[in-house]
Amino acid sequence: MSLARVGRPSRPETAYAQASAETGHGLVQDEPLIFELGGWDKTGVDLPDEAAPLDDLRGLTRAEPLRLPGLSEPEAVRHYVRLSQKNHAIDLAIYPLGSCTMKHNPRLDEKVARFAGFADIHPLQPISTVQGALALMNELARWLTTLTGMPAVALSPKAGAHGELCGLLAIRAALEAGGDARKTVLVPTSAHGTNPATAALAGYGVVEIAQTDDGRVDLADLKDKLHDDVAAVMVTNPNTCGLFERDVLEIARLTHGAGAYFYCDGANFNAIVGRVRPGDLGVDAMHINLHKTFSTPHGGGGPGAGPVVLSEALARFAPTPWLVSGPTGFHLLEHAVGVAAAALGRMCAFHGQMGMYVRALAYMKSHGADGLRQVAEDAVLNANYIKARLGGALSVAYPEGPCMHEALFDDAWLEDTGIATLDFAKALIDEGFHPMTMYFPLVAHGAMLIEPTETESRRELDRFCDAVLRLAEAAKAHDVERFKGAPFRAPLRRLDETLAARKPRLRWTPPEASSAD
C-alpha cells in the first residue's frame, strides 16, 4: 500500500485531556445552535400580510411546512456576535498562515463595494445601464495586465482553483485547435493540492516533478519528463517553500521547446507585484487570487476571485463573456460567436465576482504603482525578518539565501523533544496567535510555513517572534505538558477529528430523532 503518514494526530491524546479543567472563557459565551434557541413559529422579519391564492400551484407546494427557527433581530444579533467571538481574525493579531496571505483588508474597499451602483445592479440589465460597471472591469483588467505584463485577462473565474481550471482549459483549447491534443500536466511535488486536482479535472494525467535540495524545481527531472505528450507545466512562483524559482526562464524555455505551455500559479504574486512581471518570465497563463494579493477579505473561506492573465497565444480562447469597447461604450460578448468564436466556453453564470473587482480596484488605486511595489518589498522584508529572528532557534528548511514573502521551517529542531509540529502550533494559540500553516508543503518534514504579509508592524512581528522563541525554549526544555494538551485557553480544547470522520454528523437533528441513530 502507499503509506501516507500525514495522518498526524487527529484526536486529543487522552493522557492530556484533563490537564486543564477551566470551565469559563471570560466574556466569550457558550452559544447553542440556532436550532436549540426555539423560535420555530417565529420570524424576525416583518412582512405585510398578503396571502396569495395558490390555485395555480396546486400539487406543487410543500406537503409540510418548512421547519426552520426564526429569531428576532436582538436574538439573531446576539447569536452571531457571540459566535464571532470564537474566531481569530487578522483584525485581532498577525495571522501568519503561509501560502494564505492574510493581510489587512482596507475598510474603504468594503464601503465602495456597497455603493448601490455596484451592489444593487443586475447582471442581465441592459448594457446601456451598467456602463460604469463595465468601465470598472475594464480598468481592473488594465491594472492586472499592466502589473503582470500580459496582453489579456479573463476576469470571470470565481477563485484561485477556478482560475487554474480556466487557464488549463485555455491551454487545452489552444492545443486542440492546433491538432495537438496532449495528455499530461507536470506539477512539482511542492505544489498546492489544487494544481494536480485541477489538472485531473481538466482531463489530464498528472506527473510530479522532483525538487532539488535547495527547494526548487529539479531541471534535470523536468527535462526527463518533458516530452511531446506534456500539455503544460504548472509552477507556483514564488513557490510554496517561499522561494523564487531562480531557473524560471530556463523552465519556460524548456517548456516551450517541448511544445507545452507554462502555467504559473499566481497565489504568491503578492511577493513580486510591482517588481517582477510574469509576462517577462515566459508565463503563458497565471491566475491571480484577488483575495490574496489585492486583499479582498477571506471571509472565513471565501468568496474569492481568480482572474487569469493570458499570453497572446491563449487570449483568443478566453472564456465568455468578453468585455470589448466600441464607439457607443463597453459591450459584453456573451456567446462564443464572431470574434469570440474560439472562446473555451463559460466558466460560470454571469460575469464573475463583481463585488471583488470593486474591492481589488479600490485597493490598487489606493496603493498605486509605487505602493504596490512597496507591498512586495515589505512583504519580503517582513518574512526575511522573521526568518532571521527565528532561524537560530527553529530549523530553516532551505537556509541558503533570502526567502520571498514567507519563511519555511521544518521540525528537525523538535527532534527528541517529544513535541510535534501540531503540538507547537496549538501551543501558539495559548500565546494569543493563530498558528502558521503546518504540514504544508509536504516536501519539508513537519513543515511550519510563516507568512506575515506587509501589513504587520515591526512591533507585531516582534511580539510574534518573541512568543515563538519563548515556546521554542519551552519545547527544548521538554515542557511537554504545555504542548500536548494545548490549546488550554481557546474557546475549545483540541477537537476529536477522528470521531467527526468516523461518525459524520453533518447537520443538526432534533433530539428525539438523533437518539435513534
Binding site: P12, L33, G44, L47, L60, L66, L68, V77, Y80, V81, S84, Q85, K86, N87, C100, L108, K111, V112, G117, D120, I121, H122, L147, K158, G160, E164, L165, H192, A197, A200, V276, R277, N289, G300, G301, G302, P303, A305, P319, G345, C348, A349, K365, S366, H367, A369, L372, L381, N384, P402, P435, S457, R458, R493, R494, L495, E497, P504, L506, R507
Partner: protein, 447 residues
C-alpha cells in the same frame, strides 16, 4: 501609505537584523533581466477621498435596481436584505478570518457553517449539504461531474428549461472530462422530452424548477424514470426563495439538489459573489465536492465543530480529489444563514407567498395588454411573455424610460428562436406603482 506600517527606520533596522545591505538583495533570485527597474505604468497611490470619489463616479454610471421599476430575474433576483445581516458579516472575526483550519479558534465560522448546512438540508429536503460552492452554476457543473463518478457513465441530459449559463458552465467542465452534455431544445416545459432522452448511458438528468421560463415542475416522474435507468436526478433552483413555498427537490425524488442562494442575504452584485447550495442523498456524501463541517467533541467533552471528510478534497487527495475547489463562498454562506435565521421557516414561507402574489399581480397587469401573451402556465415569481415586438429592443426602449423590464431570452440563448420572448419577475420589492408604470409603458411601446 496608509496601509503599510513600516517606517523607513524600521526597514533599515530590519535589514540589519537580516544582514542584508538593501531590499534589492532580497530579490536576488529573480533573473536580472526580469527585475523591473522602474515603476509600472500606472497611477501613483491615492488618498481615501480620491479613490472613493473615483469609484463613486463609476457607480453613478449604473442604474441601480432600486432606482426605479425593476423586473429582472433569470437567475438573479432582487430581494430585501435586513440591515443586521450586512452589519453582522462585517464583524472583523467573520470578515477577516481564513478557512477554519484551526477549529479551536474558528468555532464561529464552523458553527455557522453547520447551521448553514442544516438549513440547506431542510430547504432542499435532502439529508446532507456542503459548506457552499461558488454559485449555482458551478454547483450544477460539479453535480454533473459527481453524477458521472457515481454512475460511471458519461452522458448528462439537461432539460431545455435549464438556465443557459448553467448549461454552458456544465458543458465547459464536463467536456474536458469526456462527459457529453445533451441540452434539450429551449422549452417552457419539457417533462416528456426529458423522460424520453434518458437512456442506459445516462449518468444524470438535470432539471430546473422553477425553470428559466418560470415554469414550476413536479420532478417526481422524471426522477422515477431516471432511477429506473440507473441515472441520478439533479434538481436546479436559481431562486432560493421558492423553497419556502414549493415542493423540495428531496420530496420529488432528487438525488442531488443545487441552487443559487444569492436571493437570501447576498444581493445582486452584478452577478457575483453569490453562494452555491449543494445537497445530496446520504449514500453519496463521499463523492461530494467542497467542504463539510461536522459535529464532534473536544478534549474536555464539549461539543464543537470541525471540517470533516476532508480526504475527498484537493489538499489531501490531489489529482484524485472529488473537485479542485478550495476557497468557496464562506461569507456569502454566512449572510444566507443569518438572513434565513431571521426569516425562519414561517418567514420564508410568507416571503415566498408574497413573491408569488406580486408576480400574479404583474401577470394580471400584463395579460390583457395588446401584443402580450403570457406563456408560463404555472409560475412562482417570474414568467415568460411573448411580445409582438423584439424583446431586446423593447427592453432597451423601456430602459431609456428608466424601466428595467426584464431579461430577453435572446440575451441568454440567441439560438432559441425566442427573440420575442421576455422573462419578467416580481418580488417583495416590486410595488403596485412599479407594475402600473411598466404596464402602461409597455402598452405604449407595443402600440
Amino acid at each position: 501609505m496608509r496601509y503599510l506600517p513600516l517606517t523607513p527606520d524600521d526597514r533599515r533596522d530590519m535589514l540589519s537584523v537580516i544582514g542584508a545591505p538593501d531590499v534589492d538583495s532580497l530579490f536576488r533570485d529573480v533573473p536580472e533581466s526580469a527585475r523591473l527597474k522602474r515603476l509600472v505604468d500606472l497611477p501613483p497611490h491615492a488618498g481615501e477621498l480620491e479613490v472613493e470619489r473615483d469609484l463613486a463616479r463609476l457607480a453613478a454610471r449604473n442604474r441601480a435596481a432600486g432606482a426605479g421599476p425593476f423586473f429582472c430575474g433569470a437567475g438573479a433576483y432582487r430581494h430585501h436584505v435586513p440591515a443586521s445581516v450586512d452589519h453582522l458579516i462585517q464583524r472583523s472575526e467573520f470578515l477577516t478570518s481564513y478557512t477554519p483550519y484551526q477549529p479551536e479558534i474558528a468555532q464561529g465560522t464552523l458553527q455557522s457553517l453547520f447551521e448553514f448546512q442544516t438549513q440547506v438540508a431542510a430547504l432542499t429536503g435532502l439529508p446532507v449539504a456542503n459548506a457552499s460552492m461558488y454559485d449555482g452554476s458551478t454547483a450544477c457543473a460539479e453535480a454533473v461531474m459527481m453524477a458521472a463518478r457515481v454512475t460511471q457513465r458519461k452522458r448528462a441530459v439537461l432539460s431545455g428549461g435549464v438556465h443557459p449559463h448553467y448549461d454552458e458552465a456544465a458543458h465547459t467542465l464536463a467536456h474536458s472530462a469526456g462527459i457529453e452534455t445533451v441540452r434539450l431544445p429551449a422549452a417552457i416545459a419539457d417533462e416528456a422530452a426529458v423522460i424520453d432522452a434518458i437512456d442506459a448511458d445516462t449518468a444524470c438528468v438535470v432539471v430546473q424548477t422553477p425553470n428559466l421560463f418560470g415554469t414550476v415542475t413536479d420532478v417526481t416522474r422524471i426522477a422515477e424514470a431516471a432511477r429506473a435507468a440507473g441515472a441520478l436526478t439533479i434538481v436546479v433552483t436559481t431562486e432560493a426563495v421558492a423553497f419556502g413555498l414549493l415542493k423540495s427537490p428531496g420530496e420529488m425524488g432528487a438525488d442531488i439538489a443545487v441552487a443559487e442562494g444569492a436571493s437570501i442575504g447576498v444581493g445582486l452584485n452584478f452577478g457575483g459573489p453569490y453562494v452555491g447550495l449543494f445537497a445530496c442523498r446520504e449514500q453519496l456524501v463521499r463523492q461530494m465536492p467542497g467542504r463539510l463541517a461536522g459535529e464532534t467533541v473536544d478534549a474536555a467533552g464539549e461539543r464543537g465543530f470541525v471540517l470533516t471528510l476532508s480526504t475527498r478534497e484537493q489538499h489531501i487527495r490531489r489529482d484524485k480529489a472529488t473537485s479542485n475547489i478550495c476557497t468557496n463562498s464562506g461569507l456569502c454562506a454566512l449572510a444566507f444563514t443569518i438572513h434565513l435565521s431571521l426569516l425562519g421557516g414561517t418567514g420564508l414561507a410568507k416571503l415566498a407567498e408574497i413573491n408569488h402574489a406580486r408576480a400574479r399581480r404583474l401577470r394580471d397587469a400584463l395579460v390583457n395588454l395588446d401584443g402580450v401573451e403570457v406563456l408560463t402556465p404555472r409560475f412562482f415569481n417570474e414568467f415568460a411573455v411573448r411580445l409582438t415586438a423584439d424583446a431586446a429592443e423593447t427592453v432597451n426602449s423601456l430602459a431609456a424610460r428608466n424601466i428595467l423590464a426584464g431579461v430577453p431570452v435572446s440575451r441568454l440563448d440567441p439560438g432559441a428562436g425566442m427573440d420575442d420572448v421576455l422573462l419578467v419577475c416580481a418580488t417583495e420589492t416590486t410595488t403596485d406603482d412599479d407594475i402600473a408604470a411598466f404596464a402602461s409603458a409597455l402598452a405604449e411601446e407595443l402600440a
